[in-house]
């Protein structure tokens, strides 16, 4: 069968990539059968607010949904929620269902996402230890988020720091512990790390870096304290683990599809099986602006790969591949990130961090590869385009705040 003649498309997973793929298939004119299979009980929903506004209880669950339930009926999408997929049979082109039965596919999109990396210490089975990935995780945690209670957060990545900000705003006593010598060590430069560590300290969060977690101590099966590598005992009512995620690649791997820290896909999100695609957190993709492959854990990536998979299945032109972008909300700080800074040789600060409005540009051999912008959308938006065009920029021009970002971008493009 050639692309564009599919009669049944199955999507396993019901997160951002899945929701996008379904929409793009219908927008692209596909009128055949679509089956969306998710293991959570909710319709596809946005995860970013879980560690931000939604955690604070600022709005209802329905507002997290990408589309209301009526849309799925209207578009004739067969939605199977709370449904586990134990196995796919590539020879028969069938997806097995956990409760029995199967669904036939002409094309399959694996949008299985990722899961929190389990905390590898004794006591990780105690009640009171939480992850932050799903709506159910928030529902379990939120009733315990009471002013004055003590929360210990393991890991100072984006999830850990966003949760720390929310917990402080809810007036909890917050301690964050991080194994690396600085916060956000895996994803950003020391300049940004220092700025965020100082901001959290100013807000009353205790941040301990360069220290390991030894184990969790319990009392009557409930977590009571986090014990650190140096013996320090941190009493805790709640412990939140935010030490990264693992791609859900087992379904693909067990079916003999090539995986290596993620399901390997080409630029069209196609796996080693031409009838199987993978999109979102679970997929390791070519990073075309960087000449390497990797997994991206982001909204942009999920949306883009959902579109790429749908277009390839329908035999339509490949949608544009944007420069990777991310954001993080903490307190009144909006961090917008364009590009991937790994491997930079020069960084340039534009603006004054003390003003809470500044950006850090990252260059490699004179080419702009990434920016972290704090409360500075122009630096973020201009850089997205500059990174995609492979622009060379002089550090002195980037740090000159008397020239608007728009003009710097225009000059670089000329």
């Amino acid at each position: 069968m050639s692309a564009g003649e599919a009669k049944s498309i199955v999507i396993v997973g019901a997160g951002q990539a899945a929701a996008q793929a379904v929409q793009s298939l219908r927008q692209g004119g596909y009128t055949g059968r679509i089956t969306l299979i998710g293991d959570e009980p909710s319709l596809p929903y946005q995860r970013p607010p879980l560690s931000k506004a939604y955690m604070k209880g600022e709005f209802d669950e329905e507002r997290l949904y990408f589309k209301p339930s009526a849309w799925y009926e209207d578009q004739k999408i067969e939605v199977m929620l709370g449904t586990h997929v134990p196995r796919i049979d590539r020879a028969k082109q069938q997806v097995q269902l956990g409760h029995g039965g199967h669904v036939d596919y002409d094309y399959l999109i694996l949008a299985t996402g990722s899961r929190p990396r389990p905390l590898p210490v004794p006591g990780a089975d105690l009640d009171g230890l939480h992850d932050l990935r799903t709506l159910a995780d928030v529902e379990r945690m939120r009733p315990k988020m009471i002013a004055g209670r003590r929360i210990v957060i393991i890991g100072a990545g984006y999830i850990g720091l966003e949760a720390a900000a929310v917990a402080r705003q809810m007036d909890l006593d917050v301690t964050v512990i991080e194994m690396a010598p600085r916060v956000l060590a895996r994803v950003t430069s020391p300049v940004i790390s220092e700025f965020y560590a100082a901001e959290h300290a100013r807000q009353g969060v205790k941040i301990l870096t360069g220290i390991t977690l030894s184990h969790l101590e319990g009392a009557q099966g409930k977590v009571a304290a986090a014990i650190l590598g140096d013996g320090t005992r941190l009493p805790a009512d709640i412990v939140l683990s935010g030490i990264g995620i693992l791609p859900n690649e087992e379904l693909a791997r067990d079916a003999g599809i090539a995986c290596s820290n993620g399901i390997l896909v080409d630029r069209d999100a196609r796996t080693s099986d031409p009838h199987v695609f993978a999109a979102g957190d679970c997929a390791a993709r070519p990073l075309v602006h960087y000449g390497r492959s990797g997994r991206l854990e982001s909204v942009h990536n999920a949306i883009e790969q959902g579109k790429l998979a749908a277009a390839a299945i329908l035999g339509q032109p490949r949608p544009a591949e944007d420069c990777p972008w991310f954001w993080s909300d903490q307190y009144d700080l909006k961090l917008q990130i364009a590009g991937l800074s790994q491997g930079y040789d020069t960084h340039v600060i534009r603006g004054d961090p003390a003003s809470r409005k500044f950006a850090v540009f990252y260059l490699k051999n004179g080419t702009l590869i990434a920016v972290d912008s704090v409360n500075s959308p122009p630096e973020f938006l201009a850089s997205k385009k500059l990174i995609m065009s492979g622009a060379k920029l002089a550090p002195a021009s980037l740090s000159d705040t008397s020239t608007p970002m728009k003009d710097i971008a225009a000059q670089a493009a000329a």
């Binding site: 970013p48 607010p49 909204v299 122009p378």
Partner: protein
């Protein structure tokens, strides 16, 4: 509650009932109004929900925050009545609002 009419770049009109407190972006996305991407889901992080507001309603649509202004500065085909629809909250005052969506957000 407010009735909001969305006009696509090709002139197609759709009038929708909007609940107070929702954003104009959410009303559009929930009803699959074409021309709005809203990739970030309303976090004012991506500038892909750019719309044109009926000039008569500009004041009622609320004050623009600094973040939104600087994001819009980088959108395509910006006009004096440009707004990011995720930053407009539905109120009774917006009843009868007419919103024009661009052909594309890029």
């Amino acid at each position: 509650m407010a009735k909001i009419t969305f006009i696509s770049h090709d002139g197609t009109e759709r009038t929708l009932e909007a609940k107070n407190g929702m954003s104009v972006m959410e009303v559009a996305v929930n009803n699959s109004v074409p021309g709005i991407d809203a990739d970030c889901g309303g976090a004012c992080a991506c500038a892909t929900c750019h719309v044109y507001v009926d000039p008569a309603f500009l004041a009622k649509a609320g004050e623009q925050q600094e973040m939104e202004k600087s994001m819009l500065d980088f959108a395509e085909n910006v006009k004096p009545n440009s707004r990011l629809s995720c930053q407009i909250k539905v109120t009774d005052e917006l009843d009868g609002l007419r919103i024009t969506t661009p052909e594309s957000q890029h």
